[in-house]
């Protein structure tokens, strides 16, 4: 297993969750991105049930440490995103860890379309 990146494929859609590094020191900020790519031959329409496009969750020992959307509100309107063949969309946020212990953390990147697309990578905080 490699720290800081993971790649999943569901039919024509691939999802990649990445962090800017694999290992961090305690309280060092973590830049996280999730990328959705249309690897098929045909255009794919992603349907979103609100203005929310993505979410990031950090988990340690099955306990949620951080969730990007926790303090956010979203417009309750249906929207769609058309990805042409080969086209990709990347979303990025920064996690600023506070009062955390060292160890391995799971970083879950989700494109919150219906159905959602997610990929989980692991980072190490020393």
């Amino acid at each position: 297993m490699k720290y800081g990146e993971v790649f999943t494929v569901e039919k024509d859609i691939s999802v990649e969750t990445r962090t800017d590094k694999g290992e961090y020191s305690v309280e060092e900020e973590v830049r996280i991105s999730v990328t959705v790519t249309n690897r098929g031959m045909n255009p794919v329409e992603l349907i979103f049930m609100s203005a929310q496009r993505y979410d990031f969750i950090v988990v340690k020992d099955d306990r949620e440490v951080w969730r990007w959307s926790n303090n956010k509100m979203f417009a309750m309107v249906l929207e769609s995103l058309l990805l042409k063949s080969g086209e990709k969309q990347t979303y990025m946020e920064t996690w600023e860890p506070k009062c955390i212990t060292s160890g391995e953390y799971e970083v879950i990147g989700t494109v919150t379309s219906r159905p959602a697309h997610r990929a989980t990578c692991v980072i190490k905080i020393n």
Binding site: M49, S50, N71, K72, F74, A75, V77
Partner: protein, 585 residues
């Protein structure tokens, strides 16, 4: 922050600015009319009265065959006279039917907002805050009265996204010659910007936005946003606004069709949660479901104003929410109500859809603005208490209180009558006018015991309302018991027991008491030997039992019989006789 912007797939429609006619008031419209006359259509209640139209100087154009109406040209001064004619139901302007340049979006028509405007109510002056992405301040179809922005990096409440402008148009797009029209075109729109150009916002900014609404005395707050996570401070802020008499309306969420999918703040009891229905009155599959759902409103393919002066079609409970916010403005423009009253009005006047009554997909049903502001139909109800009274078969009276409750301004006299009483009973009301009466049912002496459900009917104008109660006729009787029912007496001594006689079902008269089947040798006396009932209750007699010396030890039984006419009941006392040295004295 996002690296790249997603493309929002919405149809942007440029508005065609085409002049239209004004059809307000009974002014001269059209050119081929007789000089000085106004084209009208007159509706009649009972019969088509050509004569009265002619008498008023009118010229009849058509006398319709299927509806009770006449198309005519009449002098303007005749309109008043016609409207005063009791046979005239209405007089309306005969305007030319043009292709509408201001189409009424389906949602506005569905909730019957145009029928409210006809009553002169356009929600004028009611302060409605659109807590959202801001509102396009230069849109020709919107008039933004004021607002504030709480989005970092912005200095104006102008809309950077389009969502807020869309919601604002649903509430109050102007009733003019262009574009669309909102539910309450007269409402005062305020833009409270808490969501950024991507349509998302911080909880802290949303709370600040609601605070602004309280400070600036908004009357309705439309919140077309949500989150799946609860927040103690947002909850507290909503409750605060609610206690400041602000009606909070929120999108239920687009997380359906699963159960319990309503988001926050819609989920709070201080907020009216709104789900989305389509033009066929079917709930959208994605409309959130749950016990907190109050009502539904149009939310699928809604055409409204959009940023940069254009129009767009959008879907979501975001669109359903402002349909209700606009309806609330109409309700408040008619009469001031508390948020609780407003919720009740919305829920009781909604068009029930789905499972009868409330259900988790439609709430109480689809919002109906016209029903919500319609005057209550004059009516009354009749109630009676107590629900049951017992009278003995020997005759007597039963009294019931009958109340008439009037609603919707029903003032006509109500006449009361009673039916369904047994043949040996009759009822009368006193007084015979007013809203409270005593029904006295007089029962003749009878041997027919039974339970009779009777009906009190109130009749006023053409309305008939009823209530039912029960008259129970029971045979008078008595019961008899002994205490103690077992005595232990030593030979050569005596003991006593209290015989209790109880009147049942209004029994009155004399009960004769006698000790029967007294075992040989034992003495039994009753004091007194009869009791006389005048008004029910219980009376007693004392049974004294004497056991002579030499009585054989053993158990004996004495029966006390009470008799009154054909009625006879007994109580049994067991006597245990012991040899000398045992038992009581």
């Amino acid at each position: 922050m996002r690296l790249t912007k997603s493309k929002v797939h919405i149809s942007i429609v440029l508005v065609a600015l085409i002049l239209t006619i004004s059809f307000s008031g009974l002014t001269s419209i059209g050119s081929a009319q007789p000089a000085g006359k106004v084209p009208v259509i007159i509706g009649f209640r009972n019969f088509q009265d050509d004569k009265s139209v002619g008498d008023q100087g009118g010229e009849i154009k058509y006398s319709y065959g299927y509806i009770r109406a006449i198309a005519a040209s009449v002098p303007p001064q005749a309109i008043d006279a016609l409207q005063r004619n009791p046979n005239v139901a209405y007089v309306e302007t005969d305007f030319k039917v043009y292709a509408l340049q201001q189409p009424i979006p389906w949602g506005i028509a569905k909730i019957r907002a145009p029928e409210v405007w006809v009553t002169g109510n356009k929600g004028t002056g009611i302060k409605v805050a659109i807590v959202d992405t801001g509102i396009d301040t230069t849109h020709l179809d919107l008039k933004v009265v004021g607002g504030a922005t709480f989005v970092v990096g912005t200095t104006s409440y102008n809309d950077d996204n389009g969502h807020g402008t869309h919601c604002a148009g649903i509430v109050a797009a102007l009733d003019n010659d262009i574009g669309v029209v909102g539910v309450a075109p007269g409402a005062a729109l305020y833009a409270v910007k808490v969501l950024d150009s991507s349509g998302s916002g911080y909880l802290s900014d949303v709370i600040k936005g609601i605070e602004w609404c309280i400070t600036n005395k908004m009357q309705v707050v439309s919140m077309s946003f949500g989150s799946t996570s609860d927040s103690t401070s947002l909850h507290a802020e909503c409750d605060k606004a609610y206690s400041a008499n602000i009606v909070l309306v929120a999108a239920a969420g687009n997380s359906g069709p699963g159960a319990n999918t309503i988001g926050y703040p819609a989920k709070y009891s201080s907020v009216i949660a709104v789900g989305a229905t389509d033009s066929s009155d079917v709930v959208a599959s994605w409309s959130s479901r749950g016990p907190e759902l109050s009502v539904t409103a149009p939310g699928v393919s809604i055409y409204s104003t959009y940023k940069r002066g254009v129009y767009a079609t959008m879907s979501g409970t975001s669109m359903a929410c402002p349909h209700v916010a606009g309806t609330v403005a109409l309700i408040l423009a008619k009469a001031i109500h508390t948020p609780t009253e407003v919720r009740n009005i919305l829920q009781t006047t909604a068009v029930d859809l789905g499972t009868k009554g409330w259900d988790s997909a439609y709430g109480y049903g689809r919002t109906d603005a016209y029903a919500a502001i319609a005057p209550a139909t004059p009516d009354f109800s009749v109630s009676i208490s107590p629900s049951s009274v017992i009278v003995p078969t020997t005759g007597g009276t039963a009294s019931y209180a009958v109340a008439i409750t009037r609603t919707g301004g029903f003032t006509s006299p109500v006449t009361l009558s009673v039916s369904g009483l047994p043949s040996e009973a009759s009822g009368s009301f006193s007084p015979t006018t007013g809203n409270l009466a005593t029904l006295t049912v007089t029962v003749s002496p009878t041997e027919t015991a039974g339970s009779y459900v009777f009906t009190v009917t109130g009749t006023g104008e053409s309305l008939t309302r009823t209530a039912t109660a029960t008259l129970v006729i029971q045979k008078p009787d008595f019961s008899i018991s002994a205490s103690p029912s077992a005595l232990t007496i030593k030979a050569g001594a005596s003991g006593s027991s209290t015989i209790k006689v109880t009147s049942l079902n209004g029994f009155s008269g004399t009960v004769s008491l006698a000790a029967a089947s007294v075992p040989t040798g034992l003495g039994a006396t009753l004091t007194p030997t009869s009791v006389v009932f005048t008004s029910g209750g219980s009376l007693t007699s004392t049974l004294k039992v004497t056991v002579p010396l030499g009585t054989k030890a053993g158990t004996y039984t004495i029966t006390v019989t009470g008799k009154s006419g054909l009625l006879s009941h007994t109580a049994t006392v067991t006597i245990k006789v012991t040899s000398n040295g045992q038992g009581q004295h």
